[in-house]
Symmetry: C2
């Protein structure tokens, strides 16, 4: 591309860029929807991209849904998607453990139902999911330090877990004191954005707690690491020179796109602002600067409209 970095994508430039693209990778939260509401015009854009013969994939750090649950939500909000088009961290974490780490043994899981199901689908046994039994915090510190360990656990996985607790943290530390025990985090997002600007703590908070206890850093599956992208490449193939990553976060979506050598598009309906992008540009942190930006993905619709062609 001859365009300089961080250009607004509109008019003729928009038409040229979309014509040069076969594959569009979308982040979901803050890009296609916020909470349970679709970004206006986003479903129409995805439909138009498909009608123009482009392939669409969904790359999300959120570990609270399986591929099937994401396809359901995408369908419900008007996007329409197959489970095989969704690359979320619940699915990709299970895939990593099975195909890359070739885990022999169980996972101690800090995480919810979706992670649990994707691990099961990949044939990986696990323990730890769900709420503590009432009265789990009994005895004193000496008893907690001696909590029984499952001798088959070979990996600790930390994803979003609304039942996260001190006792789960203590168990994770017990396993991670063995340097051969793998330590995997689905993602390190500090907050989860919801409707109306509300937020709740994200998986990153729980990952930092476990890292602090274990004196170890987790290996991260989600963006900005390239593993979600690598999964798309392996399962579906793509031409990097004809692919664009669309996201709302500079430090995850845009950074991952830069690392993978594909073009990047920031949409301003979510986490990061144009000011932050410009500030990275001034500081020379170019991997955090998108090639293009739009106020909303809906702004791309005119460039795909047959009436204008």
């Amino acid at each position: 591309m001859t365009a300089s970095k961080c250009s607004r994508l509109s008019g003729e430039l928009s038409r040229r860029v979309l014509a040069s693209v076969d594959t569009v990778l979308f982040d979901c939260d803050g890009v296609l929807w916020r909470g349970d509401e679709a970004v206006p015009g986003a479903p129409e854009l995805v439909t138009a991209l498909r009608s123009s013969g482009k392939r669409v994939f969904y790359l999300t750090n959120n570990s609270t849904k399986t591929r099937a649950m994401y396809a359901d939500k995408l369908g419900r909000l008007g996007f329409g998607a197959e489970p095989g088009e969704v690359f979320g961290t619940a699915y990709c974490t299970a895939r990593y453990l099975r195909d890359e780490a070739r885990l022999q043994g169980k996972v101690y899981l800090i995480g919810g139902t979706a992670l649990s199901r994707e691990l099961e689908a990949a044939g990986i046994p696990h323990v730890g999911s769900g709420p503590e039994r009432p009265g789990a915090v009994t005895g004193g510190m000496k008893d907690w330090a001696a909590l029984e360990k499952d001798p088959d656990v070979r990996a600790v996985v930390v994803g979003f877990d609304e039942h996260f607790s001190y006792m789960k943290l203590t168990r994770a530390l017990r396993y991670l004191q063995d340097p051969d025990c793998l330590f995997i985090a689905t993602n390190t997002d500090s907050r989860l954005p919801l409707e109306g600007g509300r937020v709740i703590p994200g998986t990153g908070c729980m990952v930092r707690a476990v890292e602090t206890a274990a004196h170890r850093k987790a290996q991260v599956i989600g963006k900005p690491n390239s593993f979600l992208y690598d999964c798309v490449v392996k399962e579906c193939g793509l031409d990097p020179s004809r692919t664009v990553m669309v996201g709302d976060r500079l430090d995850t979506d845009i950074q991952m796109g830069s690392t993978c050598g594909i073009r990047t598009l920031l949409t301003l309906t979510g986490f990061s602002s144009l000011e932050e992008a410009k500030s990275h540009q001034e500081n020379g942190s170019l991997s955090l600067v998108p090639d293009f930006y739009v106020d909303s993905v809906a702004d791309l619709l005119p460039a795909l409209s047959p009436a204008d062609q």
Copy 2:
């Protein structure tokens, strides 16, 4: 002192240093005891220091005991102490909120019974302590983001809490989104050492989780900050040139002593090693290098023995 840094304290040097000291500040865990076992010879040393007319104070980052509970444990293990000689973070946090921050309003407390009692003793109302009610995690993310707030809360305090949970983290975030809400941590120790080399996650893990969610740094009451020392000075007075800080951690005890301009003694019965101290000395990180070290505080006993005088 003419002695170079990081000298072994023994023989004639030990006698000279102790003769130049009126006040001895002891860390507890890893120095005087490990878990529920006194370090052999430590009770005799404290008794001998007192018999020689020296004052002894206890400065501990541990927030799980009130002053009275510490005095009980000290007595039980053979040290003998008055509550007024104990400066723990439960007591000092309450003192900070009352006397320094002059808090008008309630505390949202992530912490245990001791913190709760010290806040009560200081007349500071608080909410949040204790286990979640069974079934507290109900509804979905939208409901958690809208958890009811107590309108009188003006500070979030994070100490050791064996009932720490995702819902407590979520409530803390809700309060800390108000930039006027104070954010206090008792300490940031990553682990709590127990008998036999066992460990459990320390308060630092919970502090990091809340900091990550809130996008804010907590103000820390415990060592290496000087507030515990400042409390001793205010309540009891001392001559810094005739005071020594005795601890097992370079990054808390020794750093605090350096910051406060008093002499420092590392004991090797706990967290930090002599190699770490020497390595800081080589790197020029002198505030982390003790003036003296001993294998155990019991090694100081001969220098106080009347038979040798």
